[in-house]
Structures are given as structure tokens and as C-alpha cells.
């Protein structure tokens, strides 16, 4: 029972330390509190990324590891003061486990708070249609393929040649190419059907009009860099 009674005490101490450290950090960095809070919550939960925020995540981990040490120290003082050293190493492991669990529970609390915060601030975005969401996320990479699909005359299968100045062999151009292919399908941009090309799709191509082969008819030109052309001679 005695062991359990220390648990909430240590938790409260840790929370006070955490808030204190956070406030100190914001004060030193001269960050306004509301901005600081948003920054902190984005450390805790950011569903748009998984493992790309290494610097901040490492900092965060160090932050919590520091908390863990403070915690461990408190527990050590509470439990081992005046006791024999002989039993200490064994109990130390249990205490360390408890300390990590307490810090872990704190992170869970903040993580859940961050998740709720995320749902609340993104609520307007979630109400949009899929097309509106893609417009926000990728913009023209979504718009042009969708418009092209709608413009192409029905009753034919299309295999498209992409004309672009983007380097499609390395990122971010490679991803753009994959997205265009995905959004454009069933118009086959990656030529996976191995059918003859009967359509040209220019995306981010300077002076696109002059690159269209002679036997193709431009059926839509959005601007100098974006157009759609089809061949009437090929099947």
C-alpha cells in the first residue's frame, strides 16, 4: 500500500516539474504562451507525419527523459532514504520501471489532448468533399487530371503520353508523376496496358503547344503549360 501511495504524489510532482520546465522554455525562447502551447501539442501528436520530425522528436524525447530522471530521483529519495543498500539494486529496477510508466502516462495524457486538439482544429477540413480536400493537399496535381478525364471524349480507351519539365525519376517529381497517373486512371499515363499512345497530357511543360506532335488535336488548353491533345488517327 505504501508503494502505491507514492504513485499519485510522484505524478503530481512530475506534472508540476513538466509545466515548470515548459513555462521556462517558453520564457527563455520568448515564445507567446498560445503559440508555445500549439508548438508543444504538435510535438505530442501530428497525424500528418509519422517519422519525419526527427529533430523535434529527439528533443521531445530528451525532454521526457530529463523528466524521467527527475522522477527517478524523487522516487529514490522517497524509497531509499535510510534503507539498507543491499536490497537497492533489485528494487531500483522496479522503481525505474514505475518511473518510466509514470512519465509514459503523462505522455499519454498529452498525446490524447493533442489528438483531441487536432480533431477540433481540423473539423472544418473534415467537412469538405474528397475533391476539395485534394485541392487543398495537392492542388493542380489533382485538378488537371480530373478535368482531363472529364473532357476526353467517351467511348474510347486512352493511353497518354506525359509531357512535363518535372524530373519524374527522382522525388518530388517522381511522386507527382505517380499522383498524376493515379488521378488520371482509367486514362493510362504509365502505359501499363501496353496499348498505343493516343493522347498527350502536358503538365507543367513550358511552351507546351509547340511540343504536341502534328497528328494530335489540342482539345483543351488551360494555359501555356497545361493542355490535353488527342490523336484521331490512332485507335
Amino acid at each position: 500500500m505504501k508503494r502505491i501511495s507514492l504513485f499519485p504524489l510522484a505524478l503530481i510532482v512530475a506534472e508540476v516539474c513538466l509545466i515548470g520546465m515548459l513555462a521556462g522554455f517558453f520564457y527563455i525562447k520568448k515564445i507567446p504562451f498560445d503559440q508555445g502551447l500549439n508548438l508543444f501539442l504538435s510535438f505530442i501528436f501530428n497525424p500528418d507525419t509519422d517519422f519525419r520530425l526527427f529533430q523535434t522528436l529527439t528533443l521531445r524525447y530528451i525532454f521526457f527523459a530529463g523528466m524521467g530522471l527527475v522522477f527517478l530521483f524523487i522516487l529514490f529519495i522517497c524509497r531509499f532514504a535510510g534503507k539498507r543498500i543491499r536490497n537497492a539494486p533489485e528494487k531500483m529496477v522496479d522503481k525505474a520501471l514505475m518511473a518510466v510508466v509514470c512519465v509514459y502516462l503523462l505522455t499519454l495524457f498529452f498525446q490524447t489532448f493533442g489528438q483531441m486538439h487536432y480533431l477540433l482544429i481540423r473539423r472544418p477540413v473534415f467537412r469538405l468533399t474528397t475533391a476539395q480536400k485534394y485541392s487543398l493537399m495537392v492542388g493542380p496535381i489533382f485538378h488537371y487530371p480530373i478535368m482531363a478525364r472529364q473532357i476526353l471524349p467517351q467511348g474510347r480507351r486512352y493511353t497518354c503520353q506525359l509531357m512535363t519539365d518535372i524530373d519524374t525519376y527522382r522525388d518530388p517529381g517522381m511522386l507527382k508523376h505517380r499522383m498524376l497517373s493515379y488521378f488520371l486512371y482509367p486514362v493510362d499515363l504509365r502505359q501499363i496496358r501496353r496499348e498505343p499512345v493516343n493522347c498527350v497530357f502536358a503538365f507543367q511543360k513550358e511552351d507546351a503547344v509547340h511540343c504536341v506532335p502534328g497528328n494530335y488535336e489540342i482539345i483543351k488548353q488551360w494555359d501555356d503549360r497545361h493542355l490535353l491533345a488527342v490523336s484521331h488517327t490512332l485507335p
Binding site: D50, L57, V93, L97, Y104, Y185, I192, R193
Partner: protein
């Protein structure tokens, strides 16, 4: 109407899996959580194999053709089971009453349940509100599903850059689209939160079976607090499904170890087979399971050699047949993964130098990112004093699987052309995904090794 069709497509898989499990384990029914969790995976696995067979036979896909098998299974099993219904229901009611009487309702349990429920809600919400937006989904997984949906066949998949990749995930996404009658970039992701929930069910069921309710809830909380695990619950990648099938197969193997009912082995074999059809690495993981079962059988002195051979075959055969089916498909089209440049073997003294950076990246990912919460740190602390304890065979098996997975990563990094994904500059996009496949075993070990905290007698973890 859309949501009804999507709901129907998921329910059909679940119900079909439920009936098969009910038939298979009619003498010893599984706990409800394991039953529900496994039923869904079984449904998806059967769906994927059926779609592969239809595709190989060049039968055009539509929702009626695909669901015909499920309807046949449901009609066959539903009518066959009616006579037994009364007795099994009574038995299950007795079990429920017993477990309810033992259930200690505490604040901790309510908070844990609320936390789990919130996370399941979050994963469903994010999955069904964020459309497809991941690299691999655009390039292969969902794109393949889109091609299957529009072409109603798998004819053109051979021309994809990664044509040899297993098709379970694209098939399941295409199945949702067929039922919906159109391609929707949000609804096709419904499969992932469903698998996430099914995974939590089987993991909970396993820990509750082995320890108690409190330990099971702690295990679930540990697993969902990992950000990467949650992340893969709402993105269209194959990794959560891989972890699910691997975990499901190993849990079934452990259940067999307790009860020596060969149906567990057969079911584990099926899950192992579905694993090989989920991700290329699944073939290696299935090999690990074969190795683990061989070790289990060698450890069991009470079992006759003939029985051991039979048991091994009961596990290996279903998986082998599923693997062979896809292997024949790949060979017939000349799209085997040995043609993939990343699978090229590179052995030499120079490649050994990759060992250091790989080990470093593994440590960074496990301990210095927020991908895994505090699980690996807890595991390290739980190892203290392990030499003085008598470990149960399940714990040893989990250590074996964990070790094999780490060796597998080191092998991939040092002996193949995939180094950049595990020790090179692209490691953030490759390594954590491999860690995700065996992360649940680390959580299981943390809970099993600390059973003393859950009020369970210390008769060895």
C-alpha cells in the same frame, strides 16, 4: 447508400470468418475478442485468395461474382450449424456469466477502455476523412486496386514496376470499391481501421487468455500509444496487415501449445499463408514461424515423433498451398521478385561495413523517435534479473521471433541492395515499417515479463 454498401462489404467478410471459426472451434469456442479479431482477418484472407483464383481464371470481377463464394459459405455453414446452436449458446452464456462475475470494475479499467475507444474512433475518423495521400499507395497499392476495379481483371498488373508484390491489400481495397460501385479515395481505406480494431481484439484476447483483464488492457494501451502503429491504422499501407497476420498466426500457435488442438495449427497455417500474400517480407516471417514451431516441437518431450511431424504439416501445408498459388501465378507471368534490383544479393567485406550504421539506425528508431512510445525502454528495463527467472516457452518463442526479425533486418541491410532503406539515407521510410511488423511482440514481452504487477503469481513469465 455508400456507407451501407461499405458496411455490408465489411460485414460479409466478418460474418463469413465468424461462421468458419464457429464451425472449426465448436467444441472449444474461442473467447469473443479472439473470435471477432480472427474472423475478420480470415474473411479478408479468403477474399484475397478467391479474387486471385478468379483473376487467374480470367473471370471478370464484379461484386456478385466475388461475393458468391461468401454467400455459398454462409448458406452452407449457417444451415449446418442450426442443430448445434442451442447447446453452444448455453455454453457461451455460462462462460460470459462467469467472466462477468470475475470482472473487477475499477477506475483504471474505465479510463483504459475510454482511451482504447477514443483511439479506435480516431483511427476510423482519420482513415475515412483523409483520402489516399501516401507514396506507396499512389505508386502501387491503391493504384493496383484502382486498375483491378476499372479493368475488372488482374491482366495488366504484370506490367507494374512492382508486379511481384502480394495482392491482398489491393484486392481488399478493390472489393470495397466493387461493393460501393465507384472508386472513392476515402471509403476504400475502411479496411485499415477495421484491421486495426481486429488486431486490438486478438491482442487483447491473447493477453487476457494468458494473464488477466488488467494485463490485457495495459498491453492494448501500450500498443496504441505507439504513434507509428496508430499512423498505420489510417494510411493505405500493407504494414499493419502484415503485423496483424503475423501476430494472429503466432497467437494461434501459442493457443495450440496450450490445448494441442490441431485446428489451431491449421488456422495458424492459414494466417501464415495470408501473411505471405500480404507483403514480400511475409515469406520470411512465415519461415520464422516454421522455425519457431520446429523449436516448440523439439522442446516438447511428451509428444511422439509421428505426432510432431503431423503437427508440423498441419501448420506448414495451408501456408504452403497459399504461397504456392501465388508463386505459380508469378512464375507463369515471369514477375518473380528475384528480378527486383533491390533483392539483389551483395555479399563481401565491404558490405559488412554497413553493420555499424544499420545498428545505429535501429537504435535511433527504437529509442530516439516517438514511433514506439516507451515500449522498447520498458522492455529493456523488464529484462533486468531475467537470468534468475524460469521463462515459459511462449516467452522464449517471443524472444526467438524478436531476434530473428533483427537478424533479418541486418541481413537485408548488409547482404542485399536494400541497404539505403535500413542503414542509408532512406532509412526513415523503410526501417520503422519493418519494426512495426514485430513491435506487438515487444509489447507482449513487456506485459508477460512484468506479470507480477498485475496480481499474477510469479510462477515464471
Amino acid at each position: 447508400m455508400t456507407s451501407f454498401n461499405v458496411f455490408y462489404s465489411m460485414l460479409l467478410l466478418l460474418y463469413c470468418g465468424h461462421l468458419i471459426l464457429k464451425k472449426a472451434f465448436r467444441e472449444e469456442p474461442l473467447p469473443w475478442s479472439l473470435h471477432v479479431g480472427l474472423a475478420f482477418g480470415l474473411g479478408i484472407g479468403i477474399l484475397s485468395q478467391w479474387m486471385l483464383i478468379l483473376g487467374m481464371a480470367a473471370i471478370p470481377y464484379n461484386s456478385l461474382v466475388i461475393s458468391s463464394l461468401f454467400i455459398a459459405i454462409i448458406i452452407g455453414l449457417q444451415f449446418g450449424q442450426q442443430e448445434r446452436e442451442k447447446t453452444s449458446l448455453r455454453n457461451s452464456r455460462d462462460i460470459n456469466q462467469k467472466s462477468r462475475a470475475e470482472l473487477p470494475i475499477t477506475a483504471f479499467l474505465w479510463i483504459a477502455f475510454a482511451y482504447v475507444a477514443f483511439n479506435i474512433f480516431l483511427v476510423f475518423w482519420l482513415s475515412l476523412n483523409i483520402p489516399i495521400s501516401e507514396w506507396d499507395a499512389f505508386a502501387t497499392i491503391s493504384f493496383k486496386a484502382k486498375v483491378i476495379f476499372y479493368e475488372r481483371s488482374i491482366t495488366y498488373l504484370r506490367y507494374f514496376p512492382h508486379a511481384s508484390y502480394p495482392l491482398l491489400t489491393p484486392f481488399s481495397q478493390a472489393w470495397v470499391a466493387f461493393n460501393e460501385g465507384r472508386w472513392d479515395d476515402q471509403w476504400i481505406k475502411v479496411i485499415f481501421p477495421c484491421v486495426y480494431t481486429a488486431f486490438l481484439c486478438i491482442f487483447y484476447g491473447f493477453l487476457k487468455q494468458y494473464l488477466n483483464l488488467r494485463a490485457a488492457l495495459v498491453g492494448i494501451v501500450l500498443i496504441i500509444s505507439s504513434r507509428l502503429f496508430t499512423y498505420y491504422g489510417y494510411v493505405a499501407y500493407r504494414d499493419l496487415l502484415t503485423a496483424y497476420y503475423e501476430c494472429g498466426a503466432i497467437i494461434l500457435l501459442f493457443l495450440w501449445l496450450r490445448q494441442h488442438n490441431s485446428r489451431y495449427l491449421f488456422m495458424a497455417g492459414l494466417f501464415g499463408g495470408f501473411l505471405t500474400f500480404t507483403k514480400v517480407e511475409g515469406q520470411a516471417y512465415w519461415g520464422f514461424m516454421l522455425l519457431m514451431l520446429a523449436a516448440m516441437l523439439a522442446y516438447d518431450k511428451g509428444l511422439a515423433l509421428r505426432k510432431k511431424v503431423k503437427s508440423f504439416a498441419a501448420f506448414a501445408l495451408p501456408g504452403f498451398i497459399i504461397w504456392l498459388n501465388f508463386f505459380i501465378y508469378k512464375i507463369s507471368l515471369g514477375i518473380h521478385e528475384i528480378h527486383d534490383p533491390r533483392a539483389r544479393i551483395e555479399i563481401g567485406w565491404q558490405t559488412l561495413a554497413r553493420l555499424g550504421p544499420t545498428a545505429g539506425k535501429i537504435l535511433i528508431d527504437l529509442f530516439l523517435t516517438d514511433n514506439w512510445s516507451f515500449v522498447w525502454l520498458l522492455l529493456i528495463l523488464s529484462l533486468a534479473g531475467i537470468r534468475r527467472r524460469r521463462l515459459r516457452i511462449e516467452t522464449k518463442c517471443l524472444f526467438l521471433i524478436l531476434g530473428l526479425h533483427f537478424l533479418w533486418i541486418i541481413f537485408l541491410s548488409t547482404c542485399t541492395a536494400s541497404y539505403q532503406w535500413f542503414g542509408g539515407h532512406l532509412w526513415p521510410y523503410g526501417l520503422p515499417r519493418l519494426h512495426l511488423h514485430f513491435f506487438p511482440f515487444a509489447v507482449a514481452l513487456v506485459v508477460l515479463l512484468n506479470r507480477r504487477f498485475f496480481g499474477i503469481d510469479h510462477s515464471g513469465p
